[in-house]
């Protein structure tokens, strides 16, 4: 049976069509509406609360169990949460079946069981006065309780702390070296043997005993880089060695070939040197010595080191599965010509490229800005969206009527941890969690995207992969930062070079031109106003390439 479940913080749609399945002879719909009376008192609204993740699971479990006795083709269950005015739908159930008998039986039993087992509660009945007040405060979206929680604006530090708390490192995987670039090492790598594994010559020359004061030496052997011919040397004896060759025994020194004269199998010293010209055994690494610690992001150099010590299947962070969706009916493809009111989508390519640093499977798509349409798109992509470690939604995060990112994430089972951060640009940032998965609702414009990605998404990706989180550094302003005092902390785009940090002009959070130069974000404390050139400030390095 096809099952679709939604827990909504907004009114249930007036009309719903049957799910797109064939072969049904019955389409049964039921709506439970809020009565104007509760416990013999006249009321104007009811407030519902849910344990969303568990409620969705229980609904599914019940439907599956009951349909084994009353086989049906599809079921859609929508339960509204929060404050629901009298006369409006609290629960909607639609059942498609081959024949009406099964649908009716399933519906009846399901509603009985829902009222016993599904963790949803009527919290309080609201009299007309109370309801009006509550509705005004919450915009009829959430319960007073979740409302307080959602609306409370987080400081930047609090938001980062909560991201840190709610993201957990994904299970590590053993991965061949060729696929490790950009992954985070999740184990300690130790040297498997001494490096070098014997004394090695750093010059083309002649190896002799360290205390041999002879003028003339007899050449008793020749060693190339790959040779391994151990032998003891005597006073007056020397071995011809190539750069990198392993010396025939320990504690020798090497005379550079430029400093000797060779005749047949004899050499004569022209100049004595103090350098030994030898890399000693274990000089770089001793057997068992830790060469790489967990948390290191693997790049060309570290991977070469892994190859050197034979760590060919290191334990590393998995390839992330990321879904990125743009929303907004005004958004068109970059190759299209905008009509009045339309804008080209720059966020898809921005996010794609910001994610280049993180090995991931990225899926991108556009969601229509209508809840039902978006929901049906998601259900077609259930496997992708459901499996994603990270869900990024662009746009739809401000408090406008059409905004739907938050309810959409909630209907997907995400718990919203916060929905606003007191920073500019990028204040209406949504962060949600569902088990080990996380979701961000990013405010729609590119500069906010850029800031939120480097501040928050990067912090989450670091925690998920087990890597080091992005950290603010200290730097010097190379020019005055001109700003009026602002009640929000500001992340000010800047260009960083040898002279210091140059604040860039940005008109509003929609400004995209300054992104071409930005490679740092200056952290301006709330209410600080202008900062003089030469002042020490905190900044976050960012990437432009």
């Amino acid at each position: 049976m096809e099952i679709e479940i939604q827990l909504l913080h907004e009114p249930v749609a007036e009309k719903m069509s049957p799910p797109p399945i064939g072969g049904h002879g019955a389409w049964l719909e039921f709506r439970g509406v809020v009565r104007g009376e509760e416990n013999a008192q006249s009321i104007s609204a009811l407030e519902y609360e849910a344990y969303p993740e568990m409620a969705a699971r229980e609904i599914r479990r019940l439907l599956e169990e009951i349909s084994s006795r009353h086989p049906c083709l599809a079921a859609r269950v929508v339960h509204r949460i929060g404050i629901i005015p009298v006369g409006e739908t609290a629960i909607y159930v639609g059942i498609a079946a081959s024949h009406r008998g099964e649908a009716i039986a399933l519906l009846a039993e399901f509603m009985d069981r829902l009222k016993q087992d599904v963790p949803i509660w009527k919290r309080q009945a609201l009299s007309s006065v109370a309801a009006n007040v509550n509705l005004r405060i919450s915009g009829s979206h959430q319960s007073a309780d979740s409302h307080r929680r959602l609306q409370s604006v987080r400081s930047l530090d609090d938001a980062l702390a909560e991201i840190h708390t709610h993201c957990q490192p994904l299970p590590a995987v053993r991965t061949p070296l060729e696929a490790c670039f950009g992954r985070v090492l999740r184990e300690t790598i130790c040297a498997s043997e001494d490096f070098p594994d014997g004394d090695r010559s750093t010059r083309d020359g002649y190896a002799i005993l360290p205390n041999d004061e002879s003028e003339i030496f007899r050449v008793v052997d020749t060693l190339h880089a790959a040779d391994w011919k151990p032998r003891e040397l005597k006073i007056g004896e020397t071995v011809r060695v190539a750069t990198g060759a392993t010396l025939p025994c320990e504690h020798l020194r090497v005379l550079m070939q430029e400093n000797v004269e060779r005749t047949g199998d004899r050499i004569r010293i022209l100049r004595r040197e103090s350098a030994s010209n030898v890399r000693r055994r274990g000089e770089e690494l001793r057997t068992g010595e830790a060469v790489l610690q967990p948390g290191v992001k693997l790049g060309a150099g570290t991977l070469a080191l892994l190859a050197t010590v034979g760590g060919t299947q290191p334990l590393v962070s998995p390839r992330l599965r990321v879904c990125h969706f743009t929303t907004g009916d005004e958004i068109i493809l970059p190759e299209q010509t905008p009509k009045p009111g339309q804008i080209r989508d720059s966020n898809s390519i921005l996010i794609r490229n910001l994610l280049q640093k993180y090995p991931c499977h990225l899926e991108q798509a556009h969601w229509p800005e209508k809840f039902e349409l978006a929901k049906s798109k998601i259900s077609h992509r259930q496997s992708t969206v459901g499996d994603a470690d990270v869900l990024l939604v662009s746009g739809g995060a401000s408090v406008g009527e059409k905004d739907f990112t938050r309810p959409l994430l909630e209907s997907l089972g995400f718990e919203i941890i916060f929905s606003q951060v007191n920073v500019r640009p990028g204040r209406p940032l949504i962060f949600g969690q569902k088990g080990g998965r996380i979701a961000f609702g990013l405010p729609g414009n590119p500069l906010s995207h850029f800031v939120c990605f480097h501040l928050f998404v990067a912090a989450a990706l670091a925690k998920l992969t087990g890597g080091a989180p992005p950290e603010f550094r200290r730097g010097t302003l190379a020019a005055k930062l001109e700003d009026g005092p602002n009640p929000r902390e500001t992340l000010w785009p800047a260009r960083r070079d040898a002279a210091g940090l140059h604040p860039l002009a940005w008109v509003s959070s929609g400004d995209v031109t300054c992104l071409t130069e930005t490679n740092a974000l200056i952290r301006v404390p709330a209410n600080r106003g202008s900062i003089e050139s030469g002042a020490i400030v905190d900044f976050l390095p960012t990437t432009t390439e």
């Binding site: 439970g32 519902y48 609360e49 849910a50 344990y51 993740e53 568990m54 409620a55 699971r57 339960h79 609290a90 629960i91 509603m111 829902l114 009222k115 016993q116 087992d117 599904v118 963790p119 949803i120 509660w121 009527k122 919290r123 309780d145 929680r149």
Partner: protein
């Protein structure tokens, strides 16, 4: 271990969740003992409350460990 409270249990505890860090797994008896130490007011609700572990109702022999999300589910009233 994250412990969630819903509906009237939020009123009884004054919060919607707490963190517990038991040194080892708890059976439901031990879990309740731990919880009642912090929230004696929950005792009055105990007979009607079901426990869930990781979004499924717990059985009588379910053990609750540190990585679990445990919820106290008072009688439900959805629909």
């Amino acid at each position: 271990m994250r412990v969630l409270f819903f509906a009237q249990l939020k009123d009884a505890t004054g919060c919607d969740s707490i963190e517990l860090a038991p040194p080892s797994s708890l059976n439901s008896e031990q879990f309740w003992a731990e919880l009642l130490k912090q929230f004696p007011a929950l005792a009055a609700h105990r007979a009607q409350v079901r426990l869930s572990r990781n979004w499924e109702y717990a059985a009588s022999d379910t053990l609750f460990s540190n990585d679990d999300e445990v919820a106290l589910i008072p009688p439900v009233s959805g629909g």
